[in-house]
């Protein structure tokens, strides 16, 4: 499958000058469809310009989707929020100089004051600093849980959809069983026995309960793509199963999985907060919005600021991811275009 890159850059009208742009484009295309949005957009643009071809630049589902998304205010807004969240979770000290764990009981439940805009919580810790540091936990849990669910779910669902038959039937029944487990109840039961205070048990639990949803979607998507003639054509050419899966089915079946995983990311963040609130998720000294909400809830009438800031941050984050997922779904669905 990988062809020598050097041979191809003379593609667009044979312009040798296009080597840089064309080379980058070819690299991505021959590595398998998932990366195609990049070549489709900038690569295609440069290529078309350099080669001066009369026809339009190459377009793919991904490049069309990207063009749609850039013009979609919902996507731009939620994207900015998410970029901001990612930045502060990597470098929280960019916007706060405080330490989320240095608390002074003398200031417990105090309101806002210069240098401490969100006030203090019941332990006398700075709410602003804790809210900023809490983002890291939420983003890490959300991203890792989504990734885990997407990988486990799409591998299992994809294989079941591709091969069908007995194991497919088994897997489908297992997903049915998992769908029957109430998430919060399952979390209370399973996580209450865990003593570790890291994020890993929580992420593991989310993957455990979350994969069936993605697995179903991946299975359905693979079955739909598998019926296309181009898969039959590849088989008729003598293509091996891995080749058909990676080259033909995966690039065409991955879009719904990405969409659902993005939307699920928001719900995982909310679930982490829920579980932490219930006392079975993350445990101090981990800084998490869920823990802070839980700690603040008894004092909601006297000191609402302790609850509102982390809860607000949580709501905005979850909303941003769900809106992003929605926008991506709309952009990837050609019927809505």
């Amino acid at each position: 499958m990988p062809e020598p890159q050097s041979r191809r850059p003379d593609d667009n009208g044979g312009a040798i000058a296009a080597t840089g742009a064309g080379g980058g484009m070819d690299l991505a295309t021959s590595e398998g469809g998932t990366l195609e949005q990049r070549p489709g957009e900038p690569g295609g643009g440069t290529g078309g310009g350099a080669g001066g071809e009369a026809t339009g630049r190459p377009r793919s589902l991904w490049s069309d989707a990207w063009r749609d998304l850039r013009r979609n205010p919902v996507f731009v807004l939620s994207g900015l929020v998410i970029v901001f969240l990612v930045i502060i979770s990597i470098w929280p000290s960019l916007i706060t100089s405080g330490n989320p764990l240095s608390c002074d009981l003398a200031r417990a439940q105090d309101g806002s004051r210069p240098g401490h805009p969100f006030g203090f919580n019941g332990q006398g810790c700075d709410v602003y600093t804790r809210t900023v540091y809490g983002a890291r936990t939420s983003v890490v849990v959300g991203v890792l849980a989504s990734l885990g669910v997407a990988v486990v779910g799409s591998v299992l669902g994809g294989l079941a959809g591709f091969f069908g038959g007995f194991w497919d039937a088994i897997l489908s029944r297992i997903t049915d069983i998992f769908f029957g487990i109430p998430v919060v109840l399952g979390g209370l039961v399973l996580l209450s026995v865990v003593t570790s205070s890291t994020v890993w048990p929580v992420i593991g639990f989310m993957v455990l309960l979350g994969w069936p949803q993605i697995s179903r979607i991946a299975r359905g998507s693979v079955i739909t793509v598998k019926q296309n003639d181009f898969v039959q054509a590849a088989r008729a050419l003598g293509a091996s199963n891995p080749r058909m899966m990676l080259r033909h089915i995966l690039p065409n079946a991955v879009a719904p999985v990405i969409v659902v995983a993005t939307i699920a990311l928001g719900t995982f963040i909310a679930l982490e907060a829920t579980l932490s609130y219930l006392g079975v998720g993350l445990k101090p000294p981990t800084v998490s919005w869920g823990i802070d909400i839980s700690d603040a809830s008894p004092y909601i009438r006297n000191s609402p600021h302790m609850l509102l800031w982390p809860a607000g941050a949580l709501a905005i984050t979850v909303l941003a991811f769900i809106m992003l997922g929605d926008a991506v779904r709309d952009a990837l669905d050609p019927k809505l275009r």
Binding site: M1, E3, S60, R243
Partner: protein, 382 residues
Amino acid sequence: MAEPKRNDDSMDATPNVTEVETADAATVAESVAAIEAPAQRGEPILQVRNLVKHFPLTQGILFKKQVGAVKAVDGVSFDLYQGETLGIVGESGCGKSTVAKLLMTLEQATAGEVFFKGQDITRLSGRALKAVRRNIQMVFQDPYTSLNPRMTVGDIIGEPFDIHPEVAPKGDRRRKVQELLDVVGLNPEYINRYPHQFSGGQRQRIGIARGLALNPEIIICDEPVSALDVSVQAQVINLMEKLQDEFNLSYIFIAHDLSIVRHISDRVGVMYLGKIAEIGTDTQIYDHPTHPYTQALLSAVPVPDPDAREGRDRIILSGDVPSPANPPSGCRFRTRCWKAQDKCATEVPLLAIPERFKGTDGHTAHESACHFAEERDVVHAA
């Protein structure tokens, strides 16, 4: 369903068909078939014997129990010779496409054999199957789903070389792909475009180029033009005829458009409900049909001349095609046939030259699976 007798019959039939061909050659002036027919027949390149495909109907969620079978293809036999085009016609659901998939071994045959140059390919797997696939390729019906939308044209046409690297050395592939684009009449510079940048006809040419890449000897065309505009149909058909001459290809051309099949085919097989009802040269089938189903099918061909239309012989069949899960006993066509008698319900008519026409030189002497075969020229009736 496959009667052991059938095997002998079709073996016997082969010399007969050749005989008829010779008879055609004698009356070359009026016979289109003789002009289109290849000069010499020789050994058949593909021999299909009693091909059967039953799709199981199952019940149950985890442990599936078979409660019946859709008899999509139920005992089909025919030969294909080097350089000829065999048309297969029939209405929707008669098993045409399943035959194509069986010949491509995209589906596993329930029973029967397909001999490619004497080798049974239905039970092959692994490397041997891959080797055979080099020689038998397929052009698909829908040019919109038969090309991977995420691959460039160069990657699509080049994929056969990736799978069979022995066909073209690595450094040579790009040039080969461009040659193929040129052969099918597309600009070789289109190599970096995606399928959706092409029209339906152009896409079908890409599909044909992919089929040609491995230099196959047989191309199976499953309704290759039925998804295209009429004007584009002609382009694609002409291209296919040109390629046939150029590369000495054998085609199995599956379609439901009778006029196109007549145009391109040397011989035609008519399918009904998983069986071949009648098979012969195009003159034999179109001008001298002896099976009632063929006659009914031909009488439904639109006639562009209003005067001729007035007096023509229209056969209107009553009822629907019976379910292939539960086909009628005896002759499959008897439930809709105006000639049906008791014999038709009990005895399966064999696909053979009818007794009464045996030994005659006329065009009626071709294989027809009917107990009461007689000629009725529905096309020219006035």
